[in-house]
């Protein structure tokens, strides 16, 4: 394959801590204070998929993230897994991005990196989980895109064969390179880095780029470049006129079954 693989990873709150997240209702941003952060789980599958392709295609794997300074850790984890080097898009101007602005920053990073033939993303994140970034990134780069991928088979240098899932089964697709792929968790089990990989990760390069380095205008990314806006936070009300049964287990079950019977639900 004539070109490198870029793998996009996002740092997210630890899955066990999602319940502790809160929204800063004034700004519509997430309070992440005190919540440990990890690589978005399926993005590790994306790294794994990239590394497996590299083993066959002998190109380089470049880990890319847009995020605050602390997101560097996510890149270090990807480097320990085996990525060759990393690019950290880190600039206050990127903050508060919706998916369009996120994709714009990532597209800038990809263009400025140069020589990328394949971009692998996770299908969706666990914190906001829109699942839109991969396709938007593809559109901006004018690449084809396939999401929800469970299998990737390299063909010749110019295309890949992939199996994607959809609601009614699977679709096998041939996709021409350059392209963007988004993988789901079924595709592989991400490797654990071994001790030598962990120690070698420190020697690898992490390029820190601001908006100008990625050749994107500050006004097009981050909050300023986001067409969607947070308006308000509220409570979800799906209240029903519920009847709550009380009494002994036998009484409650008897009353419940009576009611279901009356309403012809059983």
């Amino acid at each position: 394959m004539p070109g490198d693989i870029a793998v996009c990873i996002k740092q997210v709150p630890h899955p066990d801590c999602l319940a502790k997240l809160s929204l800063d209702a004034a700004r519509g941003t997430v309070n992440r204070e005190g919540v440990p952060a990890v690589i978005n789980p399926v993005d590790r599958n994306a790294v794994e998929a990239s590394l497996r392709l590299r083993e066959k295609l002998r190109n380089r794997v470049i880990a890319l993230t847009m995020g605050p300074p602390a997101a560097r850790k996510a890149l270090e984890d990807a480097l320990a897994m085996g990525a060759d080097y990393a690019v950290h898009l880190c600039d206050r101007a990127f903050a508060g991005a919706d998916t369009l602005a996120t994709a714009r920053a990532l597209a800038g990073g990809i263009r400025s990196t140069g020589g990328i033939a394949l971009i692998i993303c996770g299908n969706t994140t666990i914190d906001s989980g829109t699942g839109q970034v991969a396709a938007q990134l593809a559109e901006m780069l004018d690449f084809p895109c396939v999401t929800d991928i469970e299998e990737i088979m390299p063909e010749d240098g110019a295309s890949l064969l992939v199996k994607r899932a959809w609601e009614q089964g699977d679709i096998r697709v041939r996709v021409r390179l350059p392209a963007v792929l988004a993988v789901n968790a079924k595709i592989n089990q991400p490797r654990l880095p071994n001790v030598l990989d962990i120690m070698a990760a420190r020697q690898k390069e992490i390029k820190e780029w601001c908006a100008a380095d990625a050749k994107v205008e500050a006004g097009c990314v981050g909050l300023a470049g986001s067409p969607t806006q947070f308006w308000q936070a509220g409570e979800f009300h799906a209240r029903r006129q519920g009847e709550i049964l009380r009494g002994s287990p036998d009484e409650m079950v008897a009353a419940a079954v009576d009611k279901l019977k009356k309403l012809e639900l059983i």
């Binding site: 999602l18 319940a19 502790k20 997240l21 929204l23 519509g28 998916t99 369009l100 989980g129 829109t130 699942g131 839109q132 396709a135 938007q136 593809a138 901006m140 690449f143 084809p144 895109c145 999401t147 994607r164 899932a165 959809w166 609601e167 009614q168 089964g169 679709i171 096998r172 697709v173 041939r174 996709v175 067409p227 969607t228 806006q229 947070f230 308006w231 308000q232 936070a233 509220g234 409570e235 979800f236 799906a238 209240r239 029903r240 519920g242 009847e243 709550i244 049964l245 009380r246 287990p249 409650m252 079950v253 008897a254 419940a256 079954v257 009611k259 279901l260 309403l263 639900l265 059983i266």
Partner: protein, 334 residues
């Protein structure tokens, strides 16, 4: 034909069957159009010329259909579809565009949003027309984390306002026999960079929660039962499907395709019984159109009771065997 305040719905279909999510969105689009002051609802349809489909679209709420009947247009090629629909939108300037949050629909919507340089809100659980700063606009609600938090997102400056919605959030509603106009359009085919080699349609899953009349949803509380045997028995007894929450999928009790919620399927059965499900917004938002919800949980403060029609506060190992026995007795009598 009135061109302003239009609400469009992208129609997903396969083998002459319309995705139920798309049908439900047509009904919702009617509501939104009315709130906007009585605009038209248009369905955007590509890759078929089936009269059944167009007829059905009218009866579920479409005023007009933009139809590209060229059968060579593949809905699996998000690039071409996005190009087609964005071109139309540039020309006719709809106010709002709605998409089913399906695997393929999301891809098309995301690409179209870039082409139109506008915002796209994902996995909405409610859509309302509101007035903010004297602008009448769409407020799209998505679920936040934990508990019942929701976040309302707007797109004040760019048009169209776009949102994706999971099937089941807005159940389809049939309107009286309606007639509308079909506007035939040509889709410029871009050279395909994606070649579909094989479409493997999974055999209809008879026990899929999203299709079942009765769903038993198991939550983390099932851990008190030492597994899912009893829950499965209840589902079988009621001829229903057994689904579950994310923790019960993580625990390996329930397969991933039966996960109910924002990251799984939305359901709208006649009867939903939840077993040890606390009722987080990511779950409840996708079951709200169930006709009748019965919840069993030992925590009287569990949010699930707020959206239940009938609640039993109790310990599952005590309640469930009795419930199974009692329902068996009822069935045996019949």
């Amino acid at each position: 034909m009135k061109n302003t305040h239009q609400v469009w719905v992208w129609i997903e279909h396969h083998k002459d069957v319309i995705n139920v999510g798309s049908l439900g969105l047509l009904g919702k689009a009617r509501e939104l159009a009315q709130q906007l002051g009585g605009g038209n609802v248009a369905a955007v349809l590509a890759g078929t010329d089936s009269p059944q489909i167009t007829e059905e679209l009218f009866s579920y709420g479409a005023d007009d259909i933009y139809l590209a009947d060229d059968k060579s247009i593949s809905l699996f090629d998000s690039e071409s579809c996005a190009g087609f629909v964005a071109g139309l939108a540039r020309e006719h300037k709809p106010e709002i565009m709605l998409w089913g949050a399906t695997s393929l629909g999301k891809e098309i919507a995301a690409r179209a949003a870039v082409k139109l340089d506008t915002g796209l809100t994902a996995h909405c659980i409610a859509l309302d027309i509101v007035e903010i700063d004297n602008v009448t606009q769409l407020a799209a609600s998505v679920s936040g984390w934990g508990g019942n938090a929701i976040i309302r997102i707007i797109c004040p400056q760019k048009r169209p306002q776009m949102a994706t919605v999971k099937a089941g959030i807005f159940p389809p509603a049939r309107f009286e026999k309606r007639q509308g106009g079909i506007i035939r359009v040509k889709a410029a085919q871009s050279p395909a960079r994606i070649e579909v080699i094989e479409v493997i349609t999974a055999p209809e899953r008879a026990d899929a929660p999203e299709q079942a009349e009765v769903v038993v949803a198991g939550g983390w509380g099932m851990s008190s039962l030492g597994g899912l045997e009893q829950a499965a028995e209840l589902a079988k007894l009621l001829g229903g499907s057994l689904g579950g929450t994310r923790p019960s999928v993580d625990a390996g009790w329930i397969s991933h395709d039966k996960m109910i919620g924002q990251s799984g399927v939305s359901i709208s059965p006649r009867l939903l019984i939840t077993l040890g499900v606390s009722g987080a917004a990511q779950f409840t938002s996708t079951v709200q159109s169930s006709k009748f919800i019965m919840a069993i949980d030992k925590n009287p403060d569990a949010p699930i009771f707020e959206m239940a029609d009938l609640g039993i506060i109790g310990d599952l190992p005590e309640i469930l065997p009795r419930l199974i026995e009692k329902i068996k007795a009822v069935k045996d009598k019949k």
